[in-house]
């Protein structure tokens, strides 16, 4: 049958190509923005500043372009972005380490850095709205070393002016003036960049995450039976032994527990270990 051609904005947003499954559409897909099954939205921010590339999940400068000046080139030697145009892009995270515990800094485990990046759609909203195509003052600091060794001089900060790449594509209005479109600018990502760093759910991420993350497609509690007192019993989906005669005791997730499947087992035989769940029960 002939296809349809979406004309106005609401039709374009709702459009699904013929033959594509429902999950190919942003509001029904499993991507959850990151890491994502279809695209990793975080990658749209990696090239927001002309001349440098920042890591998708941290403010770490991953690389600089070949033709940058020396004051930008140095950023490739282990620097983190701190603020843009006076607005911070990181924040100190504090809280209790155990329920009811004292409020304290909560550093990340890799770098022991008590500051965390702020989600960029919010942190950079003003910058992409008001400073697209313009130069803005960017402040960087030397990152802690892996394992938590702090740099020799913590106050060693670098300020450079960097041009903001327009996040949105541009059209022209009736008077020929540029007009922002609701489309990501082509220059913001290299071909293939938006779909880098995707999940590999069966092998990795189903093991990595809880059911709260994969609500639609990753069961947690399977082969469930109700008991007369109103409670229920069943198996953890990650449990290696789930035969009909296996006692129904839920094993709390712990990757070192030998009763649960390992990453290696999933890489080798994910479909055999996990099996399909139909109506909440292991399919034969």
């Amino acid at each position: 049958m002939e296809g349809v051609d979406p004309k106005n904005l609401s039709a374009q947003l709702a459009y699904r190509g013929v033959g594509n499954p429902p999950s190919s559409h942003p509001d029904t897909c499993i991507s959850n923005a990151f890491p994502g099954l279809e695209m990793d939205f975080r990658n749209a921010w990696k090239r927001i500043f002309v001349g440098i590339e920042i890591h998708e999940a941290s403010n770490y400068v991953v690389k600089v372009d070949d033709d940058v000046d020396d004051d930008v080139r140095v950023l490739a030697n282990g620097y983190l972005l701190v603020s843009v145009d006076g607005e911070p892009v990181e924040v100190s995270v504090t809280g209790p380490q155990v329920p009811g515990g004292p409020i304290m800094p909560l550093p990340d485990t890799a770098f022991n850095d008590p500051k965390m990046p702020i989600e960029r759609s919010n942190a950079l909203a003003n910058v992409i709205h008001q400073k697209a195509g313009k130069e803005v003052r960017c402040v960087f600091r030397l990152a802690p070393q892996p394992g938590g060794a702090l740099p020799a001089n913590e106050d060693d900060r670098i300020e450079v002016m960097l041009r903001v790449r327009p996040f949105f594509a541009t059209g022209l209005d009736a008077d020929g003036n540029p007009h922002k479109l609701a489309v990501i600018n082509r220059d913001i990502a290299e071909p293939g960049q938006l779909s880098e760093s995707l999940c590999s759910p069966w092998q990795n991420d189903y093991r990595e995450c809880g059911c709260y993350y994969w609500a639609a497609s990753r069961p947690d509690f399977v082969n469930v039976e109700s008991r007369p007192d109103g409670t229920s019993t069943g198996h953890n989906w990650m449990q290696r032994d789930r035969t009909p005669t296996t006692p129904k005791v839920y094993i709390v997730d712990d990757r070192k527990d030998p009763r649960l499947v390992t990453y290696d087992e999933l890489f080798e035989d994910w479909e055999g270990k996990l099996r399909f769940e139909i109506s909440g029960r292991d399919a034969e």
């Binding site: 049958m1 039709a11 009736a174 922002k180």
Partner: protein, 465 residues
């Protein structure tokens, strides 16, 4: 059947319906989920939920036309599913939860120096004794408007009447108070006033310009045509006086925008000429609205009048299309708004914000669903002293949802129209559905044409030469 635009407005050939009748027939409601419309660029459909517009091929169009003619909902739904156009509902039966009030219109003066034949406010005083809003009441209304407002939140204050300029000192004081509250809260204030124009002074122009007002002047035609509907209370014509007062203010427009609003009755149906004249005078925009309900019944449009109006609106719309194609600004407000909303796919379960985020305030400080429900129990919503009556507001939002309206529930235009002005519907019913559908059908066709020939108008890259 597709009717070339050039044919609309001409009498039908013998034995055939006139093109206008044919357009009205094409716009008839068949099934609530989809509307099929033809254009020079081929058949298109409106998927009603979400106001989504798609071009379709002739095979799909023929299948759909058969399903629509047979009112075969099952067949049409199956077709939409095959095309991938079935979605979770955009609009459910759930009424809007009462939002904070962020738009208020103040009946700053419930009296007027004009005696318009059809006035919903019954000569300006809403059927009660003439009165002015006190400064205290106006300031309390402004405080309600900014209650819990946050930075960058949009807040609108409108002055209406009667004739608001007959209470100029309170208009000014309330404006300055709103300006202060906007600075304190960081909220984004817009100001508007609707006036008959007879009392305006150059100083008013300075004040409106300084505060960036959207000024609407009620004008029902040029010269005698206006005077017949909007005379002074003593019967004398008001047109010359208004133009004399408004002309210098039109020349002052920088930040402020001065627009003309034309109420259309059976006596002033020559719309394209009026539109052209007011655009030439320098109005920022010109809009038309049919008179559907007046307290006396005088001036109300009947079916035949509305058919003439539709013909006239389409003629004005065609002029808009010609100008946009030529790259010229042509501020025919009904068309500008229709093109913007259709392009976005605006879909709503209510016709406006009345009784939701928008309310009217009477001179004595009573709240109502909008400026038209002042002194009217049907739209009472509490008072400045006691606050918004949340129970009445909740009942209003539940009762006024377009899914609760008939015959709206079965009409393809329901999410573009919203069910029609609450005040007119409650007072008179829905006499203008054919007119509204005919106009929207034409606007959908015009959108397809303009998106093809002038994509820049909608912010798309220019068409290739």
């Amino acid at each position: 059947m597709f009717i070339p635009l050039s044919e609309i407005g001409r009498a039908g050939r013998q034995g055939n319906p006139s093109p206008l009748t044919a357009l009205t027939l094409s716009a008839q409601p068949r099934l609530p989920q989809v509307h099929l419309f033809d254009t020079e660029l081929g058949p298109h459909i409106l998927a009603v939920d979400g106001t989504r517009i798609y071009k379709v091929g002739s095979e799909v169009a023929a299948l759909l036309a058969r399903g629509l003619e047979a009112r075969d909902s099952e067949q049409v739904n199956a077709l939409l599913t095959r095309l991938g156009l079935d979605t979770a509902p955009y609009i459910t039966d759930e009424p809007l939860a009462p939002p904070p009030v962020r738009a208020l219109s103040l009946a700053i003066a419930q009296k007027c120096n004009l005696g318009c034949t059809y006035c919903y406010a019954d000569g300006g005083s809403f059927g009660t004794l003439p009165k002015q809003m006190s400064l205290e009441t106006a300031l309390a209304a402004v405080d309600l408007l900014f209650k819990d407002a946050i930075r960058d939140e949009r807040v609108n204050l409108t002055f209406l009447g009667g004739e608001p300029m007959s209470n100029r000192p309170v208009v000014r004081a309330a404006t300055l108070h709103a300006h202060r509250r906007a600075q304190e809260t960081g909220a984004n204030l817009s100001l508007s006033i609707t006036t008959n124009g007879t009392l305006l002074t150059p100083e008013d122009g300075d004040f409106f310009e300084e505060h960036g007002f959207a000024v609407t002047i009620s004008l029902d035609g040029v010269g005698k045509s206006h005077d017949a509907q909007r005379p002074f209370k003593n019967g004398r014509g008001s047109y010359d006086r208004i133009i004399e007062r408004v002309r210098p203010i039109l020349a002052q427009q920088r930040k402020m925008q001065v627009s003309a609003r034309v109420t259309v009755t059976p006596r002033n149906l020559d719309l394209p000429a009026v539109l052209e004249h007011f655009i030439e005078l320098g109005f920022h925009s010109v809009g038309f609205s049919p008179m559907l309900s007046s307290p006396t019944g005088q001036g109300e449009m009947q079916g035949g009048d509305l058919a003439v109006m539709l013909d006239q609106m389409i003629a004005a719309g065609q002029e808009f299309e010609r100008n946009v194609v030529a790259g010229r600004r042509y501020p025919f407000l009904n068309m500008v708004n229709a093109m913007r909303e259709i392009h976005r796919g605006t879909h709503r379960p209510y016709p406006c914000g009345a009784g939701a985020g928008y309310m009217g305030v009477s001179a004595e400080g009573d709240l109502s669903a909008c400026h038209r429900f002042v002194e009217n129990e049907a739209g009472a919503m509490g008072s400045l002293a006691t606050g918004v009556d949340l129970q009445r507001q909740g009942q209003w939002l539940a009762a006024r949802h377009v899914h609760r309206q008939e015959p709206c529930r079965s009409c393809w235009a329901r999410y573009m129209c919203g069910g029609g002005c609450h005040h007119e519907v409650i007072q008179r019913g829905r006499p203008a559905c054919d007119y509204i559908r005919g106009w929207l059908h034409y606007c959908l066709q015009a959108y397809i044409r303009l998106a093809e020939t002038r994509p820049e108008y909608f912010g798309y890259p220019a068409a290739r030469a």
